[in-house]
Amino acid sequence: MLTHIARRFLQAIPTLWLIATLTFLLLYLAPGGPFDEEKPVAPEIKEQIEAHYGLNLPLHQQYFRFMGNLLHGELGPSYKYAGWNVDEIIRQSFPVSLELGGFALLIALVIGIPIGVFAALRHGRLSESFLMSFAMIGICLPAFVLGPLLLLVFSSALSWFNPLGWSVASDRVLPALTLGLFYAAYIARLSRSGMLDVIQQDYIRTARAKGLTESRIVNIHALRTALYPVVAYLGPAIAGLISGSFVVETIFFIPGLGQFFVNSAFNRDYTLVMGTVLFYAVLILLFNLLVDLLQMWMNPRTRND
């Protein structure tokens, strides 16, 4: 187990290096720079600004400088937000995204798994088609449609929730629903197919033959195996959920990481792009590893691999 973890950590190093290098090159190739403005800056002034950030150096020097800083754990100052360091921005906005993502994940699991399991148990009946169409709608409905719809009903019409903001506890509900329902729908489909596979297995038939109650069969024997595909999906899903969502954050005015992720690219805020991309990459690698470990724990057959 420990060697497995160590190996994965070693594998992560070249992966991260590759991501950093590719991001660096893509940023360099994108037209326009961080200090291009509508009212153009005199060339001699622009040179001075670029000198502050080392952008006047030849490309390979910029690259080594940047990689060197990364190795020291320095993400550098944001180019767009004067006075703010990238790590400061991530530290300030990540907890918000983590909280939002956490709630969304909870919603996704609490709604997704029961729907999927229930649909599988009602295989071939009308209720299954109904639930699965519902899940399909959830997948197809993008956040920028679902968010305003929820707002229209629960904020404008019923006045249950604030239309935006992140100050009181109830502000978490609508954004978490908007973000979570998509994942819930996906998880419903995954758990349904997982469950369908499992309930046809011999050991379930054995359990039935032994006269176990249906709820015991489903909850204890079938569910664990049926959820393998869901667990595999959770790695990238969690990383995606907690690293922020641009759309949901913009609709509900939430100070999370997602807005920086997208806007930094538009602003050519090189250091912030790099910081957020690497941060996201680390999260994905980390959660994929956790999911692998979880799967090992759930499935004795993979434990000795």
Partner: protein, 540 residues
């Protein structure tokens, strides 16, 4: 068989639903209700300011915030727009208009209690002009003697620059040449002071990447002091007890919220904002019909125009350029497409800029346009090359471009292709002059025709048209040296007539600002620079 599973799940969902309902029903007061009680203004910014350093930031959003925290030698009367004493309570101007002596208000203090001195201003001027700081707007100080040379590194000794502290409360500024709009320049953030000990505590005088603007560090001299700042969340200002005239300040605090335009409108409707930065086009009609008292349109000092690349084939012919300009039906655009009260632009400088109104006008005359095009060798648009029109990616720019494309097709029989680029790519294309026709806009930095007409000068950094006219350049230089306001306006009239005759740019419309304002806000007056000192604002 799955009944018990179903029952468990239903129960769970029911509990969740009840909890949600309970939380939701605990009614909270809205920001507006809370703000009216505590005299705190909630104001939408539309976007996150890029910083709070007055010498580095360039945008309107930043100015909107900074005007709460800092104050220059002179300020603007919120209602009349007249120049009023700021840190300087009085000033004398020499007869030749070259020397200004400012006498400081002895009550002027920094938010930590230090007095604001003439030396603080010298430090600030030196800071923004030192080349190493890389202040994009340092040129705003160029009217000061030696400022340009110092900023370009030609002059090394700052004491040679035309600013002198006679004593801690007397500052003399000498100019290169008489600049009639000099006092209005002083209201711009580039001329504002920074607190020297604070700057030096967090870095050197030329440090761009400094922490001095952070809450807890920031020391200002404006009516408000910085309380807190969270990116993409809020900037909070509290009344500054050391402000030189605290009795003039009607608010106890301000909350600046960088909410995106559509969410901002929703926030306003729900009582979470007193004031928005703008109104989405698709909501304008609704407000006009249902809440006309809450929506406000003010003329803005800005022009929307198309830049023509005169080095590109047929566009080098002024007749072609005029044909393109004359065939656009601007009224149709402003009334049916834009709808927020924008004014059709038949000249370049917006009406009443510094009291100047252009006499020369370009006509809407499709007939004449066709004749001009025929004269240039393209009768009925025959043989006219297909040019490309570039705009930065935006739904409203696209709508306007499509409408104009149709007008040109219909009136002149010519085809133009449209393409768009995302903002930074667009800027880079424009900088390289790699376009035929390009959408552009200009907002005045100060209330004077010079801020618009200087765009046509040969060496102006924003003249990407490839067009230049020595006569035009001479006129603008002459205007800069003319003190008599009427004579100056007459020179601007001549310059603008040349611009309209040569037509390197096609003016399309003059901007308006649209805002939603809660009825409890008083003292928020319309003004063309969209410049709002917060002293005048009260909540009732």
């Amino acid at each position: 068989m799955p009944d018990c599973f179903l029952r468990q799940t239903t129960l769970l969902l029911l509990i969740a639903w009840t909890a949600m309902w309970d939380v939701a029903c605990a009614k909270k007061a809205t920001n507006v209700e809370r703000g009216n009680a505590s005299k705190e203004l909630y104001i939408g910014l539309g976007t996150e300011p890029s910083g709070l350093d007055p010498h580095i930031t360039t945008g309107l959003t930043e100015l909107y915030v900074l005007v709460a925290f800092l104050e220059g030698l002179a300020t603007v009367n919120a209602e009349t727009g007249a120049i009023e004493p700021g840190v300087a309570q009085s000033w004398e101007i020499s007869e030749d208009g070259l020397s200004y002596t400012f006498h400081f208000d002895p009550k002027a203090r920094w938010s930590n209690g230090d007095p604001v001195t003439a030396e603080d201003f010298l430090f600030s001027f030196e800071r923004i002009l030192t080349p190493a700081l890389g202040a994009p707007y340092a040129y705003m100080l160029y009217p000061m003697r030696g400022a340009e040379a110092f900023n370009k590194g030609e002059l090394k000794d700052f004491s040679k620059v035309g600013a002198q502290a006679l004593n801690p409360t007397t500052l003399v500024i000498e100019l290169e040449q008489a600049t009639p709009y000099f006092l209005s320049l002083l209201t711009h953030n580039t001329w504002w002071p920074v607190h020297p000990p604070t700057i030096l505590k967090h870095g050197s005088i030329t440090d761009r990447i400094s922490k001095w603007t952070k809450p807890g560090n920031f020391v200002g001299n404006g009516p408000f002091a910085l309380e807190s700042w969270r990116l993409n969340s809020s900037i909070t200002a509290q009344k500054n007890p050391y402000y030189r005239a605290p009795e003039t300040v009607g608010l106890n605090g301000i909350h600046f919220l960088p909410i995106e335009m559509n969410a901002e409108e929703r926030a306003f409707r729900a009582g979470h904002l007193h004031l928005t930065s703008s109104v989405p086009i698709h909501r304008i009609d609704w407000y006009r019909e249902n809440q006309p008292e809450d929506i406000r349109f003010d003329t803005a000092l800005g022009v929307y125009y198309y830049m023509l690349n005169t080095t590109r084939g047929a566009l080098g012919d002024p007749r072609v350029r005029k044909a393109l300009a004359y065939s656009i039906n601007r009224e149709e655009l402003t009334e049916h497409v834009l709808k927020a009260g924008q004014q059709p632009a038949y000249h370049f400088t917006p009406p009443n800029t510094g009291g100047y109104n252009t006499v020369a006008q370009l006509p809407h005359d499709p007939e004449l346009a066709r004749e001009l095009l025929a004269e240039a060798g393209f009768p009925g648009g025959e043989g006219f090359p297909t040019f490309e029109l570039l705009y930065n990616t935006s739904e409203s720019h696209r709508t306007i471009a499509v409408a104009i494309q149709q007008m040109w097709k219909k009136e002149l029989g010519i085809d133009i292709t449209l393409y768009n680029q995302e903002w930074k790519a667009y800027l880079s294309t424009r900088e390289a002059g790699n376009f035929d026709i390009l959408r552009a806009a200009w907002f005045g930095d100060y209330d004077d025709p010079n801020t618009f007409l200087s765009l046509g000068e040969t060496n102006n950094g924003n003249n990407h048209t490839g067009w230049n006219s020595p006569q035009y350049d001479t006129l603008l230089k002459q205007a800069a040296n003319t003190l008599d306001p009427e004579a100056r306006k007459a020179i601007f009239q001549q310059a603008e007539a040349i611009l309209l005759e040569e037509m390197p740019v096609i003016p399309i419309y003059f901007y308006v600002t649209s805002k939603l304002i809660n009825q409890s806000v008083h003292g928020w007056y319309p003004n063309i620079l969209d410049y709002h000192p917060y002293q005048a604002v009260t909540l009732k």
